[in-house]
Amino acid sequence: METILFLAHTEADGTLARAALETLTAARTAAAGLGDAELMVGLFGGKTQEGAAQTQGAGAKRILGVTGADFSQPRYASDAAAAEALCREAKASIVICPATSRMARVMSGVALRLGGKVDTHITGLKAEGGVLSVNRWYYRQRMEAVLQRTQRPWVLLLEGGCHEAWKGTGGTASVEAVALALPENCKRTVVEGLKAPANDQQTIRPDAGILLVAGAGWTKAQADGKAHVEDAEKIILDFLECAQASLGGSKSVVDLGGEGQAVLRFMTHLNQIGQTGSTPRHAKGLSTCCHGEEPHVVGWRFINERRAIDLDTNCGWAHGKADVLYVADAFEVMKKVNALLGAKA
């Protein structure tokens, strides 16, 4: 019989983030599919009671917690110790976690401590005939594999946006405290906080409904033979503001700075999507002035509805990958889009 542990960290207020609640849904699905599997919940953080309450009704046999100030900040040494203690207490054979940066930082190390195996970036999970299969991508989202493992414990990190978030039944939950005294050598690192761009410069919005992908074409000479980078910056930022969109950039536009060329000043490597960037998940994506064939296009593989604006009718970025390709000047079109969105606001 498998023992499935849903393992997650809590947020600063003790609650579970959406990614964790999605993972709980997946853990329940796995437990149900494996027939006689037991589901347990393991939480760690500064506070855990609020998060435990959110798991009510999920059918967990036990809710375990490692709680305290030592576990409030994302730090490898303390998070790994907490996760290891919870897995051991639960005697988990399968550990299912959200692929947040905090969990992704530690769970492979924890799997090694447990003598188990780990698979990350899981995008699908199916339990059939007593066998659990998981989907993940290889070579930067260029091929998809379905995996099974016989080793236990098996640690799985699930990507966000692949399952519905669990909506608990409410009420209070009883958290069984798992005692853990953190040794001094696990406190050598102190988390000082987060560094974020100023609000008006924040161009990455993971929860946005639409992703704007900007390509290097924005910085190139236009019909008058001149580059209009300042215009491009204004148009892009206006769109992000009006549509509350997130911004992605092709590798070529992100690399321009290092090559000494005109750059979009707000575009950093954090915006980069594709092979050496991220593969964000948004309902819609609009690419503008992007060029290139596979593999550059992997950056918007997980975007459901895709449209593109490009002057090139044969744009490789769009053909076969976008639903609609508008053959037009993105400068002109996006200015008008911004005007319409501004008028609606």
Binding site: L112, K117, Y138, M143, V190, E192, R301
Partner: protein, 270 residues
């Protein structure tokens, strides 16, 4: 500053990103079609880690950089011909698969053993660098497990910036959700850093650096011990290319006003 460190960069090779990749299943498991024929490059994030290591070593006199790599040595030799021109390092080669389909835990075991076998390595001065994920398996697992095997509990992933302070402490910026960085301060070495892009441009080729590096690269490749990865207990039920072709509607005859109106309607639609 009189703080010297020993930086071990773990990094392997991957097919050139512009190559067409196709998975094939055979008696030995899953691999890429014509894998040995595909031109390779140093894994991009590992390359960033190597450049950051060299940059740091330059700032901290008395420091040294090793590159520990598990890859088929013939392919590794080809890649070293260009990488060795970039920055000074000493290669530690292990002859084995560089496939994305190998298990991260097995790769970590091989690499950790190779690190432990470096003569004169001082744990109290050790920084282990690597890419936070590879461009092949892309799991973000190997570096953590190397750290565990080396007994390093100060680990950082998705690192974009490292500053070594005058007292030996380190300020580290790690990527977290929402385009933000987590800022941490670690008391000192040893530590493990899985690098994201960092802030350095790719160094220009330096033939003098290349000559010095290549003198040691060839013997290192000749000495490379073979390593096998069994993939025990791991079964690939299927590996396939995505059905990515969409029926793209190409719109050539609309005015910018009409396109804008259509896009705004599309954006607003649930």
């Amino acid at each position: 500053m009189s703080i010297a460190c020993q930086i071990v960069v773990c990094g392997s090779i991957v097919p050139d990103p512009l190559q067409t990749l196709e998975p094939v299943s055979g008696a030995t498991g899953v691999s890429l079609k014509n894998e040995m024929m595909l031109p390779s490059v140093l894994d991009p994030w590992a390359a960033h880690a190597l450049f950051e290591a060299a940059h740091l070593a330059k700032k901290l006199p008395g420091s040294k950089v090793w590159l520990v790599s598990l890859a088929p040595k013939a392919k590794l030799q080809q890649v070293m011909m260009s990488v060795a021109q970039k920055v000074p390092f000493e290669l530690v080669a292990v002859d084995g698969p560089a496939s994305g389909f190998t298990d991260a835990a097995e790769v970590a075991a091989v690499l950790a053993d190779a690190v432990k076998a470096i003569p004169g390595l001082d744990h109290s001065k050790l920084l282990v660098f690597g890419g936070w994920e590879s461009a092949s398996r892309g799991a973000g697992s190997t570096m953590q497990m190397i750290g565990e095997r080396l007994g390093i509990v100060d680990q950082f992933q998705g690192v974009d910036e490292l500053t070594v302070n005058g007292d030996g402490s380190m300020r580290i910026l790690e990527r977290v959700e929402g385009g933000k960085h987590q800022v941490s301060v670690c008391k000192g070495f040893p530590a493990l850093l899985g690098w994201a892009t960092g802030n350095l441009p790719e160094p220009v080729n330096n033939p003098q650096v290349g000559m010095v590096n290549m003198r040691a690269v060839m013997p290192a490749l000749q000495k490379a011990k073979p390593a096998k990865t069994a993939g025990e207990g791991l079964k690939f039920a299927s590996v396939s290319l995505p059905k990515q072709l969409r029926e793209t509607k190409v719109v050539k005859d609309m005015t910018p006003d009409q396109i804008a109106a259509e896009l705004v309607e599309w954006i607003a639609k649930d």
